[in-house]
């Protein structure tokens, strides 16, 4: 695969890898295309993402996207985090090979799931795509 240096960096040294005990929201999604799985854990304080961790079962692009996406939403408000698109993640990684674009979708979807899980736990209404 023709991965950018940025992808290789985030893949080899993933940021925010792991899980959060007593997290405020967890999102787990599977990739319809290749069957891979990503899990995002959120710690939320004052509507902001105080901490975030991920676990990923997937390819280099999926792991790098997880790492980059968690970096990008850390410290952001939930609304800001919700708006993070897979395209923005891919761009931040200096691009992904076309066949690997779907891997960055995992990150976007897992973040949405995690935020909705948080909202649900709070008894709030979940958000739509």
């Amino acid at each position: 695969m023709d991965y950018s240096l940025k992808v290789m960096d985030h893949f080899s040294n993933p940021r925010n890898m792991g899980s959060i005990e007593n997290s405020d929201g967890v999102g787990e999604v599977g990739n319809a295309k290749c069957g891979d799985i990503m899990k995002i854990y959120l710690k939320v304080e004052n509507n902001r993402i105080a901490d975030v961790k991920f676990q990923t079962f997937g390819c280099g692009a999926a792991i790098a996207s997880s790492s980059m996406a968690t970096e990008m939403i850390k410290g952001k408000t939930l609304e800001e985090a919700w708006k993070l698109s897979n395209k923005a993640v891919a761009e931040a990684l200096d691009g992904l090979p076309p066949i690997k674009m779907h891997c960055s979708m995992l990150a976007e979807e897992a973040i949405h799931e995690a935020i909705n899980d948080y909202l649900k736990k709070r008894g709030l209404e979940t958000w739509d795509e």
């Binding site: 295309k33 069957g35 891979d36 676990q55």
Partner: protein
Amino acid sequence: MDNSATTPVRKEVVEEMLPYMTENFGNPSSIYEIGKISKHAIDKARKKVADALGSEENEIYFTSGGTESDNWAIKGIAFANRSKGKHIITSSIEHHAVLHTCAWLEGQGFEVTYLPVDKYGIVSPEEVKKAIRDDTILISIMLANNEIGTIQPVEEIGKIAKESRIYFHTDAVQAIGHVPIDVNKMNIDLLSLSGHKFEGPKGCGALYIQKGTKIDTFLHGGAQERKRRAGTENVPAIVGLGKAIELATAEIEESNKTLLELRGRLVKGLLKIPKAHLNGHPTKRLANNVNITFEYIEGESLLLLLNAKGIFASTGSACNSFSLEPSHVLTACGVPHEIVHGSLRLSLGRMNSEQDVDRVLEAVPEIVQKLRNMSPLTPKEYRTS
């Protein structure tokens, strides 16, 4: 350690090829002589291929590679024997050059039976027998599989085909230089091979066609290859293929002895990793092939981390394929979907040493652990952080 994908061209082979690319061409005024020299060179190469297969020289046809050989064998037999029948038998673990050709023929009105394999990837001769119909015209079963190295009972299948007077083709692309071949003893009517899999050149292969076989031409045009395969002959590549198969065949025994030792060491070492499973048959496999699945992790990321350590390998993971489909071979062997993802193929070559094996055995456990720590699927007891 990815010698099943492609091998570098062997030094002795390059040396044989070069004159046909450079010097001999440098002197246009001697072109007529070159014509003769080239013809003799091709004949010599053809003899070497025939010797490696136990066939006659005039049963060997040079092609552009394993893919063309497979396409020619299957389409050529199908179209030439259409009036006799429209049924083809193959297995579910063939190379795509066979499977996609069969699929295309299905679109042309042919019918194809894709035989299942057991958990080791072996086709049962009994199943072949049962699948034969009155209108079966071709059986195509590979000699050795490119992913899991499983060696098929080709001789038995050939015998069944012969008894039923059905043509038998075998894709031997992975077998050359590893499995001794005798087309007559094995009852093979058509056999495909490809130069770059045994340290010969890319873009050159051969098809063995037993005398008297009714087969259509596939590449139509000029009168080359006794009017059966058109196209200006790729002289340097043909010469290289001849040299490479000569060397590879002469060294089978010696090479297999070394490879078996290395393979044993590699398999033993890798299976020490918990939740690791060997794919394919424990003994009926190519001496150079190791295919192992590590649960909870995905193969492409495993490859990338290995690459970073200078180790090149291959995987059946969906993520590493253009189609995003997991390996059809491992799937056919009944390996569950999630587990196919974590497969790793290492294929040893003549240049690999014990040190190389040890380097792999040092690198893999660490990398597998790193990825398991990252994976949401890994149970607690297999995590270290």
